[in-house]
Amino acid sequence: MSSIHPTVSLYKGDRIQGVWNHKQYRIERLLGEGARGSTYLASINQSLVALKISKDPAVITAESNVLRKFRKAQGVKLGPSLLDVDDSYIRQGEKYSFYVMEYVQGRTLSEHFSSIGLKWLGQITSELLKALHQLHLLGFVFGDLKPDNIIIEQQTKQVRLVDVGGVTQIGRGIREYTTFYDRGYWRLGSRKADPKYDLFSLAICMIQADPSNRLKVASQNRDVLKVLAASQMVTPFQSVIKKALLGKHANALAMKREIDYVTKRLPVATQAQNNVKTLLRKGKGDIDRAEVISISSLVGIHLSVLYLILQAL
């Protein structure tokens, strides 16, 4: 049954022992929690993993189902392997479901916003579009695309998508969304899953990179196009973003081509100017950042952007 607080409190050193597969995990620390459960950093046989646990077993089953489907993607690795799905008794005999996945270390896109340059924004967007296109070809949309669900991996600098709670089969109602990134909220389309839904959310992510950050104000009259016009930092990308908001790209690749076209032609000077601007705004940016960090429901599952061949399957 659905629970108001599906989060599960665990502490460093707690042992999680699977009822079915008998693997034992040691909890290291909390990585994030949200409306669907809690994610912990855990260890097993000296290696680190991410463990998601929820009081609502349907959340665990649904998300691990999605991860299993990603695993079936032919020749393309969409996300880290799903390592384990099981139930465990916690303390006084409460039994909760959990799943275990590869741990990816890095910072979210929202944590990077204060230092993001235009060229880098273009590159990140382009990589995301490549990943989204693969996802769309599999018959799914990501759904809950937002800066908090986009992680830049620390070591490889790869862009990865986390939290599969919103992943929805094309043609169905979006399972999970966040108000500002939802096409329906801005009255620019339906809540039915189609590839353009993701492109809309991605366009909002790009607008959010602008330090002026006016979405909250604009929510009064629901006019996101006005916000776009006022977001000066992303001016070079304005026409691409507008097309994405209005659903005018045929697919993710079409948007990617336009993003790449603009990115390539960005003068180096623009980027330097932008960095200076960013520095000048830094004080303000830090406040925004703190606000964004607090909304974290970070690690779910990671959708790799590099196309690694899955030989195991």
Binding site: S2, T61, A62, V85, G173, I174, G184
Partner: protein, 249 residues
């Protein structure tokens, strides 16, 4: 696969009932007929999040087999669509578990299956959630204190319809208000799936004084009997679980 209808009443109120029948026992009766009662309590901006006066909100929903939330008017949109969806999933879950018990024996529910099999059951439930027919009767408390919350209520219903429109299954909603000057409860909009009709309904809301929640619920629930066939999703008449699940165990 047969498709059933999930039937819900969504009560939006801001306070205790103070007249007429006991809403908790009425809610229980309604639930026995296969209709879930969900309740959203709307707070005043200066109210704390756990006011004692709104305890009834939780009690009515619990008796009605539904979900309750107590929120500020600003959060209504998010809450209304979420409560509707979660309650629908809950109905389907309870119903699928009943099926599982028929196949595997009394003690079986989804959680006693191994995780892999559970995944398959989950897919069946998601399929059902997407394709089943859904009837939502929205019962809005229009006692005087609700007056300044009406625009939030309307917005949240617009948002709900947006979410319902995205489903593959069909949906119908109707809107009732209580109280009115002459009657305890009044139909403002008969069963429809046309979201545009919502805009024409809202100016009609007249605001009254007393709060006869129980009686209003009872009257409103009659709307299901008049227009509904026998396919209420609760019995065991549906072929929900594919026979192949037997093999995978």
């Amino acid at each position: 696969m047969n498709k059933g209808t999930v039937s819900q009443i969504l009560l939006i109120t801001d306070g205790c009932s103070n007249q007429g029948e006991d809403p908790v026992s009425v809610s229980q009766q309604i639930a026995q007929e296969g209709i879930t009662v969900n309740v959203i309590g709307v707070l005043e901006d200066d109210q704390t999040e756990d006011p004692t006066g709104l305890q009834e909100v939780n009690d009515i929903a619990e008796a009605g087999g539904g979900i309750s939330r107590i929120v500020y008017a600003d959060d209504l949109s998010e809450t209304v669509q979420m409560v509707t969806k979660q309650a629908m999933n809950q109905t389907i879950q309870g119903y699928v578990n009943k099926e599982l018990q028929q196949i595997f024996g009394k003690e079986t529910d989804e959680e006693s299956l191994p995780p892999e099999t559970r995944g398959e059951v989950q897919e069946v439930m998601e399929e059902l959630g997407e394709t089943c027919d859904l009837k939502v009767l929205v019962l809005v408390d229009t006692s005087a204190s609700m007056q300044n919350k009406m625009s939030s209520v309307k917005e949240s219903l617009d948002d709900l319809i947006l979410s319902l429109d995205a489903r593959a299954g069909s949906h119908y909603f109707s809107i009732y208000q209580f109280p009115t000057r002459k009657k305890v409860v009044k139909e403002l909009l008969d069963w429809t799936n046309d979201g545009d009709r919502l805009a024409k309904v809202f100016p009609k809301f007249a605001v009254g004084g007393i709060t006869p929640t129980g009686t209003a619920l009872k009257e409103a629930a009659k709307a299901f009997h008049i227009s509904m066939g026998d396919e209420v999703m609760r019995g065991a008449a549906y072929d929900v679980v594919d026979s192949s699940y037997r093999q995978s165990l």
